[in-house]
Amino acid sequence: MVRYIANKFFYMLVSLFILISATFFLMKAIPGDPFTSEKKVPPAILANLYEQYGLDKPVYQQYLKYLGDVVQGDFGISMKKINQDVSDIIGQTFSASLKLGVVAIVVAVIVGVLLGMLAALYHRKLIDNVAMVLAVLGIAVPSFVVASLLQFIFASKLHWLPTMGFKGPMYYILPVAALTAQPIAFIARLTRSSMLEVLHADYIKTAKAKGLNWFAILFRHVIRNGIMPVVTYLGPMTANIVTGSVVIEQIFGIGGIGKQFVEAIGVRDYPVIMGITIFYGILLMLARFLTDIAYIFVDPRIKLSKGKEG
């Protein structure tokens, strides 16, 4: 098992390294540099600026320096916001995004699993049909459409909830609902199909036959086995929620990383784009890594000798 984890960790580092390198060289591939578009600058000042930002050195030295800085959590200095460290920008805005993201993940898992369970237990009944229609809609309707609709109905027309901002519990409801629509739909479908499979398994029949009480069967056998696929989905779901929050923060005016990201892309603030890309990359790859590890603990049947299969 240690080997399995070490293996996964190694590949995570390789992916991360590729992402950082790709980010760096893509940014270097852009013709011109941050100072070419400004009004005519005297060559001496330009040279000073280059020195200040380390642009006078050969590319490979800049690359090595950038790698070293990133390892230490330093993403350089913003080019548009004078003298602002990218890592400071990330640090200041991360807490809002983190709160939103964590709440969204928790809500998505709880609601999704409950919905899927109900659908499976009342298979082919009204609840099942309603849940599955919701699930199909949730998967197909893009999150920004959901967000705009929710904002229009509940904030603008009914005035039940605040339209924008992020100041208290009430401000969470709409963004979280918009952000979780798709993951909930996906989890509900996963849970439903795996629970249906489990409900028809022989060991459930055995448990029933020996007279085990229905709640014990449900909690000891059905749910434990039924939510297994949900665990595998946690990694992709985190990615979904993190990238989704970029748009949702924009719509609901939440000052998180996503909003910084959109702004940086808008003004082409390359160090900030690079920094946030890499930050997101680390976050998402870590989530995937943790999911892989969690899966071994949840499912004792998992084959650890990957690479030999098929």
Binding site: Y11, S15, A140, P142, Q250, I265
Partner: protein, 320 residues
């Protein structure tokens, strides 16, 4: 006639005793196939046709495609304005007889733009899916067919690429390359083909140990012939399903990029960029957002439902 057992069974066809004849116990006769044989594709088509939901989705898709082709033309004929006209006296108008979906902040007709946008979104989705298909089939086919070392290395490579969040890569590429229809499609396919290659790999691995492959190989078929004449045609079902389901993903990704200002650039509009443009005044001019949003949601919904139906029809074993 009243005692005719056929009548009792109430078959819709009116059968008479004369219709029956003894064919005896001639062995040759017993082996003759009496009914027309149904190919796997016809069979799948029958199954698909009986799936009302999937057929509705197919109908909706066809309607959207047709509307995206002729929608702008209709306005040209009926009202005499097109994609490039703007009516600056009538900006942000509500839907009316003249402007069926209203107008936007530059007085452009939302009906025309919605269908032109749908055209662009569909082009992006279909083109991305086709490129994914091409790369995925070749890469996955090689992985699955050769197996062993080749498979291990190629699979590791695709796993590493796949583990990099694809929207980040796409965003990066589009920040560097100027967004245009071509670069957007390219950026979407940069990691999109991996899923397809895994599907193909899995199918080929299953198929290559089957008897008909052995038979073909023993008759001297080479790798190319085996792969393209025998293995891939038998894996077409899952491939088609994956393509169908990857179209809405690409359409969504393009819409997402539009939100970041990295989608197709003005004056071209996609459904995503229209929604993004409409977002600023959306609480006051909801029609600017609602129509493109409805079309994009319907398109994605229809593709998803049709894809599911296609999967059930092509692989009945999967259906419970």
């Amino acid at each position: 006639m009243d005692n005719n057992p056929i009548q009792v069974m109430q078959t819709p066809v009116d059968l008479k005793p004369e219709d029956f004849r003894k064919i005896g116990t001639d062995e040759k006769q017993a082996e003759v196939i009496q009914r027309e044989s149904i190919s796997a594709w016809r069979d799948a088509w029958y199954r698909l046709r009986s799936n009302k939901l999937a057929m509705t989705a197919l109908g909706v898709l066809l309607l959207i495609v047709i509307a995206s082709l002729v929608g702008p033309l209709i306005s040209q004929w009926v009202h005499g304005y097109n994609y490039y006209s703007n009516d600056l006296m009538n900006t942000n108008q509500k839907p009316s007889a003249l402007h069926w979906f209203g107008t936007d902040d530059l007085g452009r007709d939302v009906w025309v733009r919605t269908w032109m946008g749908a055209r662009i979104s569909l082009i992006v989705g279909l083109a991305a899916a086709c490129i994914d298909l091409l790369i995925g089939v070749i890469y996955g086919g090689i992985m699955g067919y050769f197996g062993g070392r080749v498979d291990e290395i190629m699979n590791k490579f695709s796993e590493i690429i796949y583990s990099i969040p694809y929207l980040l890569v796409t965003i990066l590429l589009l920040v560097v390359m100027e967004p245009s229809l071509g670069t957007i499609i390219l950026a979407l396919t940069i990691t999109g083909w991996i899923n397809m290659s895994w599907i193909v790999r899995g199918e080929i691995m299953q198929l290559k140990s089957r008897e008909f492959v052995l038979a073909s190989r023993s008759m001297g078929a080479g790798s190319g012939r085996l792969l393209f004449r025998h293995l891939l045609p038998n894996a077409v079902g899952p491939i088609i399903v994956t393509v169908t389901l990857s179209v809405p993903n690409a359409i969504f990704a393009e819409a997402f990029l539009s939100f970041l200002g990295l989608g197709v650039q003005a004056p071209i509009a996609s459904l995503g960029s229209m929604i993004n443009d409409a977002l600023t005044g959306w609480l006051y001019y909801p029609w600017r957002m609602l129509f493109p949003a409805a079309v994009i949601s319907l398109t994605m919904l229809a593709f998803n439902i049709f894809g599911d139906g296609l999967r059930d029809a092509l692989d009945p074993k999967l259906k419970k």
